[in-house]
């Protein structure tokens, strides 16, 4: 396989932008119509992800070792879409047909061989990884909704019980899908792992969001949802060692932070934890009872509510981070930040300017791309069994 030739042909094709994955999927669905229902109606995001993943694979095709981890994660993760080994050749055919279409005259038999060989290698790693994962965890977990509380008109707190144990580390996110909607979204459990395996999710219905709207408005106790394996390690506690913590959360960003608080409680460690919780207005704090109970039970936890907009001071907006910086110097602590992209980037910017260094600030990446090359789970000395 000529890696240079492969890379060069890919850069020619990639220049056509979104046309390429569009052509690829249309080819696949026409040749194998049964695959259409494995994908959601809106394919725009899916096309981006495919191109990013393919681009990453191609640019590393001559250092296969660096790709293996990524491909194994990818292959195991594809089980949640009900992908089986026999689907891979169809995808390979559609891929080759697409490349041929866009390369036109530049398409040669040697290129065809290169690409077929490369795809064969990639798909084999993915298939093997899926096979290996089969005995470790199910392709997805079916979970029953035990509790569904509407805390605000667009926000619900769900309690789920999966059919099997879904192991996760506080701070991670799990995939959630409603059987009628073929899309997956990621939510962080708001609790530390429990003996009965139940999970608490905080879901805000995004306007026009298919999964979130369904979960908030279209689900009730007794309904079933599907869950997928946990991902993400940017918000887990292990990089913080045994340091004291400063937690910044706004809106439903409170969910993973709540699980961190519960983890600290379960560890029985002597950390001091200061929590700053923000919301647009006083009415938007949706978990007050639980928070007040936590503050009352744990003397090492201090909670400060930060109201963004107050009716008494119209036009002014208080950011959580402004209050944090005004209250003192936390630079000896590890800082965890979770909220909207705007809130997180504003907070990180303000803290960095105030002299906090990147190693002590923990937050998730912006505009999550779950198939991006940097998406790997923690390789922590953690034997909670099955945490990828």
């Amino acid at each position: 396989m000529d890696a240079a030739r492969l890379k060069q042909s890919w850069s020619l094709v990639a220049a056509h932008g979104d046309q390429v994955p569009l052509y690829f999927y249309s080819t696949l669905f026409l040749a194998y119509p049964e695959t259409r229902q494995m994908f959601p109606t809106n394919m725009a995001g899916q096309r981006d992800r495919l191109v990013t993943a393919l681009g990453h694979i191609v640019s590393n095709v001559d250092q296969v070792d660096s790709l293996v981890g990524f491909l194994q994660d990818l292959g195991a993760d594809h089980r949640k879409f009900a992908v089986r080994a026999e689907h891979y050749p169809a995808v390979g055919e559609a891929l080759v047909a697409t490349l041929q279409h866009f390369l036109g005259e530049a398409w040669t038999d040697e290129l065809a061989q290169d690409w077929t060989a490369a795809y064969g290698l990639v798909s084999q790693v993915m298939i093997d990884a899926a096979q290996a994962a089969e005995s470790v965890k199910p392709p997805w977990w079916v979970a029953e909704i035990l509790g569904h509380e509407r805390r605000a008109f667009d926000l619900a707190v769900l309690t789920l019980r999966p059919q099997y144990l879904l192991p996760f580390t506080p701070g991670q996110s799990i995939g959630v899908s409603h059987p009628a909607v073929r899309a997956w979204r990621y939510y962080s459990p708001a609790n530390a792992p429990r003996a009965d395996g139940t999970l608490e999710l905080h879901v805000r219905a995004a306007p026009g969001g298919v999964v979130s709207s369904r979960l908030v408005y279209g689900c009730a106790v007794g309904d079933q949802v599907h869950l997928a394996a946990p991902v993400g390690d940017r918000l887990t506690l292990w990089p913080a060692g045994s340091a004291d913590l400063l937690l910044l959360a706004s809106g439903t960003g409170w969910a993973p932070v709540k699980s961190l608080v519960e983890q600290v409680a379960a560890e029985g460690s002597r950390r001091r934890v200061d929590l700053y919780l923000g919301a647009r207005s006083r009415a938007e704090f949706y978990d007050n009872d639980a928070i007040d109970k936590l503050a009352a039970s744990y003397p090492w936890l201090t909670v400060t509510y930060v109201v963004g907009a107050d009716f008494q001071r119209p036009g002014e907006f208080t950011h959580v981070v402004d209050r944090v910086l005004a209250d003192g110097d936390w630079r000896s602590r590890h800082v965890y930040i979770c909220g909207s992209d705007e809130m997180v980037s504003h907070s990180v910017g303000a803290l960095t300017q105030a002299g906090y260094h990147a190693g002590q600030l923990h937050h998730e990446g912006f505009g999550k791309h779950w198939y991006g090359p940097t998406w790997r789970t923690a390789i922590a000395p953690d034997d909670s069994g099955g945490v990828r």
């Binding site: 569009l22 052509y23 999927y25 249309s26 080819t27 669905f29 026409l30 040749a31 194998y32 119509p33 259409r36 229902q37 109606t41 809106n42 394919m43 725009a44 169809a90 055919e93 559609a94 047909a97 279409h101 089969e134 005995s135 470790v136 965890k137 199910p138 392709p139 997805w140 079916v142 008109f153 667009d154 019980r161 999966p162 099997y164 144990l165 059987p179 009628a180 909607v181 003996a195 009965d196 395996g197 139940t198 219905a205 995004a206 306007p207 026009g208 298919v210 709207s213 369904r214 408005y217 279209g218 689900c219 009730a220 309904d223 079933q224 207005s281 907009a309 009716f311 119209p314 069994g385």
Partner: protein, 251 residues
């Protein structure tokens, strides 16, 4: 919440039995009654039921379409056999570029409609939020003024008999009453808004089914569901002050 520990996955086959809406479930389905002052069934219950029924209809329609296609394929095979031609071993024929482009165009159009619905839902949600906040601000301001005025009046009329706790109680009562009456007015506005939303939803849904969109109706239902949620009435907390309310928006 039960305290029984959960079992680990044991590598067995995952039974993915989807809970389907069957005629039996439809007959046995019990709707909660609407709130005390409203007649009929609880609207949230009804909406959820409609979503499940719509899912089932979509599933059945897809199955029927697949069966029809399979039927056609088998008939074609039969025809070829009758004429003595042996059909090829069934390797999937790759589609020509023209067909591919037709499907791609339909996919794009479906996504445009989805994006349009998404954008509209976001604007509505933002507008509703702004309206709510400005109403609350105005209501709080007016209620405060009314309460202060009442206390001043009471002070001047009671002279030496001025009692602090009475004044506070009066102030709270007036404040509460004013807030409630403002919120009722706001809720009436929101009702009108949600009626408008429903009309817009129907218009978008009609465009979707009329167009050549591929499976876009499912997405429009999802977007429409969210839009209805965004237009719902803001919760009214009348708990503090006992005042006789016209029963319109009690939760």
């Amino acid at each position: 919440m039960s305290a029984t520990p959960i079992s680990r996955y044991d590598g067995g086959q995952v039974s993915s039995v989807q809970v389907r809406m069957t005629s039996d479930r439809v007959r046995r389905w019990e709707f909660d009654a609407a709130s005390f002052a409203r007649r009929g069934y609880d609207p949230t219950d009804v909406d959820r039921f409609r979503m499940q029924v719509a899912d089932e209809l979509d599933l059945l329609a897809a199955q029927v379409a697949n069966l029809r296609a399979e039927n056609e394929r088998l008939n074609d095979h039969l025809e070829l056999h009758r004429h003595g031609v042996l059909p090829s071993a069934g390797a999937a024929k790759l589609p020509a570029a023209k067909e591919v482009n037709l499907l791609s165009a339909a996919q794009r159009e479906a996504e445009q409609i989805i994006a349009q619905a998404h954008d509209y839902a976001q604007r509505v949600a933002e507008y509703a939020r702004m309206q709510y906040e400005s109403y609350m601000r105005a209501a709080a301001e007016e209620a405060k003024q009314e309460a202060e005025r009442a206390v001043t009046e009471y002070r001047s009329s009671s002279g030496a008999n001025f009692d602090d706790s009475v004044a506070t109680r009066e102030a709270l009562r007036i404040f509460g009453e004013m807030m409630i009456s403002h919120m009722q007015a706001a809720a009436r506005h929101l009702d009108d808004g949600s009626a408008q939303l429903a009309r817009t939803m129907e218009r978008i849904a009609a465009e979707v089914t009329a167009g050549a969109a591929v499976g876009a109706s499912g997405a429009a239902v999802g977007a429409g569901g969210a839009a209805v949620g965004a237009g719902g009435a803001a919760p009214v907390d009348g708990g503090r002050v006992r005042v006789a309310l016209p029963p319109r928006h009690q939760r």
